[in-house]
């Protein structure tokens, strides 16, 4: 019996759960989903339908406004219209061609002002559609923009740029002028603000991911790859489902106690877990490959999504090990997948705007979908945290893949401590290496924080980031010491507290430097980079050691019950140092 036998069993077990009836039912639902998305694509997303109420006197104008579903349009005579506007909550009143709205001094002004802007947009869109119907580009859309995005780091190449680009040879990322003359309706649809399902069902049909749009000033916007992000979501989709199957299967064994038999077999727990993982991983990759093939993406996408799949599967596995009930498992998994989805999709929206967006592998997928090159260093930068964190999560999960943790009602915290205790028991100089092992986790959370911080004013962002980053690092460094003291693995003495503090702090320092050297080059220049400790070497070492020793000593004297205050104390020291480092940016 070996690893592959386990895989075979696992595969058969999950497959058998799907009776013929279930399969037919899921096919029916999938067809219904397809039909519904087709209809949604035909009629657009009805999100803000009838949100604004407009009352007017001109029936011709009413026809114009009715082209936009946002408006609930009411036609009546002048007197009635005024009454409705004043008393009945209408947002906009149009008498002949004069617009009235509730300005900032009145109740409901917020909605009315926004209705005014929506009205402006609707009329622009209507005019644009009419202009298109003239089939005379030179007189209707006389100004065209050819946007060329140039990589600045690359060497200047006068040959290719000195010849002024001709209309016929527009570069890849230049929006094309439409050669065909689209019909009015089509143009209106194409200009809808929110991308409808239509956009990506259309994408499926055409191999090219670019659509022909108007390259006029009103369409001159920052490049937000909304469509590619939505498309990459389709790639990720099977991963959610399969991770759910994986966790359900593990949990079912725990609940029904079927797993006990495997545990007494001669196989080690890591062989059992990897054996169980294998079929799910293979199916995920096959499905991703199928999607890539179908949607016409590059095969490299599979390689980019491998660490993402591992991440989802590892967290699903860990969730299934630590949860006490189905409900808890559901919530843990929802929580983790929301967090992970945020981590991977949020930065991807900014793929063309800021270099930091490559912390997410999805950004690389988006780039590939937009036919842009992806370099090896970008791959390493965005996927290394995923590889490291998922292996780590598997490792800690496998530590507690044993009878006393699988088949008892231990709390989540208890199980987490168990897995750390296992680590301490199995690894030489455990506290030194525990800091290193947990580092990718801290690193990933910190990267996530950076992304979130880009949305608040820079100074506040840095302050919040410094505080949170310090807290995360201090938790990572001291959690081992907490385990040792609270589980009485070593005697609680001042000497031990000092020793552990130094080991743990030094371990974190070494890990950080190695990891940063490998992956962080591209953000090292930014302020956030210096907060994460790329700078002088001796001071960060002293900092890590001293702050952790403070936490360790405070646990020694205050007891492990006051862990929280120990951590806060250490974080304050840590944050103060980092604050000093970036003082120039904040106060200068």
């Amino acid at each position: 019996m070996d690893l592959l036998t386990i895989s075979k069993w696992e595969f058969r077990k999950t497959r058998l759960s799907f009776s013929l009836k279930t399969r037919i039912l899921s096919v029916i639902i999938l067809i219904l989903i397809g039909v519904t998305s087709f209809f949604v694509s035909q009629s657009g997303l009805h999100i803000n339908d009838n949100i604004y109420k407009v009352v007017l006197t001109d029936p011709e104008l009413a026809k114009v406004l009715r082209t936009d579903n946002k408006f609930d349009v009411f036609v009546t005579n002048k007197e009635n219209a005024k009454d409705l506007f004043e008393l009945k909550g209408f947002d906009i009143l149009i008498l002949d061609s004069r617009i009235f709205y509730h300005d900032s001094y009145s109740y409901d002004s917020e909605k009315s002002i926004s209705a005014l802007d929506a009205l402006d947009k609707a009329i622009k869109k209507y005019d644009e559609a009419r202009l298109l119907s003239y089939n005379d580009l030179n007189d209707t859309f006389p100004v065209w923009l050819n946007v060329k995005n140039i990589e600045r780091v690359q060497a200047f190449q006068p040959v290719s740029l000195q010849t002024l680009p001709q209309f016929e040879k527009i570069q890849e990322n230049t929006a094309n002028a439409p050669i065909e003359k689209p019909a009015v309706e089509k143009a209106v649809e194409e200009n809808t603000q929110l991308p409808s399902i239509k956009d990506f069902t259309e994408l499926k049909k055409s191999s090219s991911l670019q659509e022909q749009t108007l390259a006029t000033p009103s369409h001159f916007n920052p490049p937000i790859p909304f469509k590619s992000v939505v498309l990459s979501f389709i790639f990720i989709f099977p991963i959610y489902f399969i991770a759910q199957f994986f966790s359900s299967s593990i949990m079912e064994e725990r609940v029904k106690r079927k797993g006990e038999l495997l545990l007494v077999s001669p196989l080690s727990s890591y062989e059992i877990v990897l054996g169980k993982l294998l079929p799910y991983l293979v199916i995920t990759l096959v499905m991703v490959a199928g999607m890539t093939f179908k949607l016409g993406g590059s095969p490299w996408i599979i390689l980019i999504l491998l660490p993402v799949s591992l991440m989802f599967l590892s967290t699903a596995f860990f969730g299934a090990i630590i949860a006490r009930s189905f409900k808890e498992l559901s919530f843990v998994l929802i929580f983790l997948s929301v967090f992970l989805s945020g981590y991977i999709f949020f930065p991807a929206m900014f793929a063309n705007i800021h270099a930091i967006s490559i912390i997410s592998p999805i950004t690389l997928v988006v780039k590939m979908l937009e036919n842009e090159p992806v370099s090896m260093s970008e791959y390493l930068f965005s996927t290394t945290p995923f590889y490291l964190v998922s292996s780590l999560v598997f490792m800690f999960g496998i530590f507690i893949y044993r009878e006393e943790d699988l088949f008892t009602q231990k709390s989540i915290k208890g199980k987490l401590l168990d897995s750390i205790q296992e680590f301490i028991a199995r690894v030489p100089t455990p506290l030194f290496f525990l800091s290193i092992a947990l580092l990718p986790l801290a690193f990933s959370i910190q990267l996530m924080l950076i992304v979130l911080m880009f949305n608040v004013p820079l100074r506040i962002g840095i302050l919040v980031f410094i505080a949170c980053a310090a807290l995360i690092e201090e938790v990572v460094k001291s959690v081992g010491i907490y385990t040792v003291f609270s589980k009485k693995i070593a005697t609680v003495s001042t000497a031990n507290a000092l020793k552990f503090g130094i080991l743990s702090g030094a371990g974190f320092f070494v890990g950080e430097k190695v990891l940063l050297l490998v992956v962080i080059a591209s953000i090292a220049g930014s302020v956030f980079g210096s907060v994460m400790g790329i700078g002088l070497l001796i001071f960060p070492l002293l900092l890590h050691i001293s702050s952790t020793t403070v936490a360790s000593l405070s646990m020694r004297y205050l007891g492990t019950r006051n862990y929280l205050s120990s951590i806060v104390l250490a974080s304050i020291i840590h944050a103060a140092y980092n604050l000093y480092l970036v003082r120039g940016v904040i106060f200068g």
Binding site: T14, S17, L25, S26, I33, T36, S37, F39, V40, H46, I47, D49, N50, I51, L61, N69, D72, S97, E110, K111, I113, S114, D117, A118, Y126, L131, N138, D139, T140, F141, P142, V143, W144, L145, K148, N149, I150, E151, R152, L161, L164, A177, P217, F220, N221, P222, F241, Q244, E252, K256, R324, F326, K327, F331, V338, G342, M349, I353, S357, L458
Partner: protein, 349 residues
């Protein structure tokens, strides 16, 4: 009937003991903050005034060539540098002295050919975005200017409306908050409760505790009702919490009572549907899978038509609709009855 409450109380206690509800609320908070960060982040790219937080006030743009467009760019916020030819401009561009180049062609507004403007921007650089935002206005003004001259040739008359004093503000935030954020916040607990009822039932089946429950004085119908009651009741509570939180942040929410009523009715539909799946299939793996598929279907269907629950919540909260929504509530409530009747008929065997 009394047994229904006993079961409901038991389920509620287990929810509170496991602190799962707290985790659910954190999940919803994460969803909310992600989506609002995303939209506010994106919206700020389309609304230059929102970028005023940034220290850079003007973009440095190189202009090559001479033409009408020059006047429009000079009048705008950008700082203009003039170049004799593109090569010089590009070398300054590559040395980070300027962040964008506009090449003005010879064609003028009175001519007949297309006016093609070349714009060079730095790739994957926030400064490119900044230049884009600042150039948009003068370019649009220029387009309007040329179009005014040229569209007369084909007899085009634009829709002209007038407004006395304009308070210009983008509608993006308003439409996002009422169109996406509020429905999302209000309906996430609904979808979570649907999953919750599946866990409640499948756990009893897989741990074989359902048999024990069935020999207790509670009938299967009472067990059903008790569990459904718990899963349904927690939803309006969470929805209320979110609405209160949102209005605390200064977003006016209208018709809270009707929204809660509508949400409760939709919850009953979703939870009963979850219960049907769980009782029919009994295994968590299959039940959750089918439920997720149906959830996607319902989600898509929710965007398919006006007057869907999502759209009703949007209009109710924005105040575009009032008591007339009660008719829709009644229609959705009527929809839940056959589902419940069907659930009662499912054999547990």
């Amino acid at each position: 009937m009394a047994n229904t409450f006993v079961i409901a109380k038991k389920e509620m206690n287990s929810l509170l003991n496991e602190r799962t509800l707290i985790l659910a609320i954190i999940v919803q908070l994460l969803i909310a903050s992600f989506s609002s960060l995303l939209v506010i982040g994106l919206a700020s790219f389309f609304d230059p005034s929102a970028l005023s937080n940034y220290d850079e006030k003007t973009a440095n743009v190189g202009v090559v060539g001479d033409g009408e467009l020059r006047n429009f760019i000079e009048k705008s916020q950008v700082k203009v540098y003039y170049y004799q030819d593109l090569a010089l401009a590009l070398s300054d561009f590559n040395n980070n002295k300027i962040d964008g180049i506009v090449v003005i062609p010879g064609e003028s507004s009175s001519g007949t050919g297309l006016i093609q403007i070349d714009i060079y921007l730095p790739k994957s650089d926030i400064r490119g975005t900044f230049v884009t935002l600042q150039l948009k206005k003068p370019l649009e003004d220029y387009e309007a200017f040329v179009r005014d001259i040229r569209s007369q040739r084909i007899g085009f008359e634009p829709v002209r409306l007038y407004v006395d004093s304009v308070t210009k503000k983008t509608s993006t935030y308003f439409e996002f908050i009422y169109g996406i954020l509020i429905p999302l916040l209000v309906f996430t607990p609904v979808f979570i409760s649907g999953g919750l009822i599946i866990d409640m039932f499948t756990e009893e089946f897989e741990r074989k505790t359902m048999e024990l429950l069935l020999v207790s004085p509670a009938s299967f119908g009472e067990i059903l009702n008790g569990k459904i009651l718990t899963a349904v009741l927690i939803v309006p509570l969470q929805a209320f919490l979110w609405l209160a939180l949102v209005s605390f942040n200064g977003v006016a929410i209208n018709n809270i009572a009707i929204i809660l009523l509508l949400v409760s009715i939709i919850t009953i539909i979703v939870v009963v549907l979850g219960a049907i799946i769980a009782v029919k299939y009994k295994k968590r793996l299959i039940s959750q899978y089918l439920y997720s598929l149906i959830l996607i279907l319902m989600f898509l269907a929710g965007y398919l038509f006006a007057d869907s629950p999502f759209n009703l919540v949007t209009r109710l909260s924005a105040g575009a609709m009032g008591n007339e929504a009660l008719a829709y509530c009644a229609a959705y409530a009527a929809f839940s009855i056959p589902l419940y009747v069907y659930l009662k008929r499912v054999k547990i065997s």
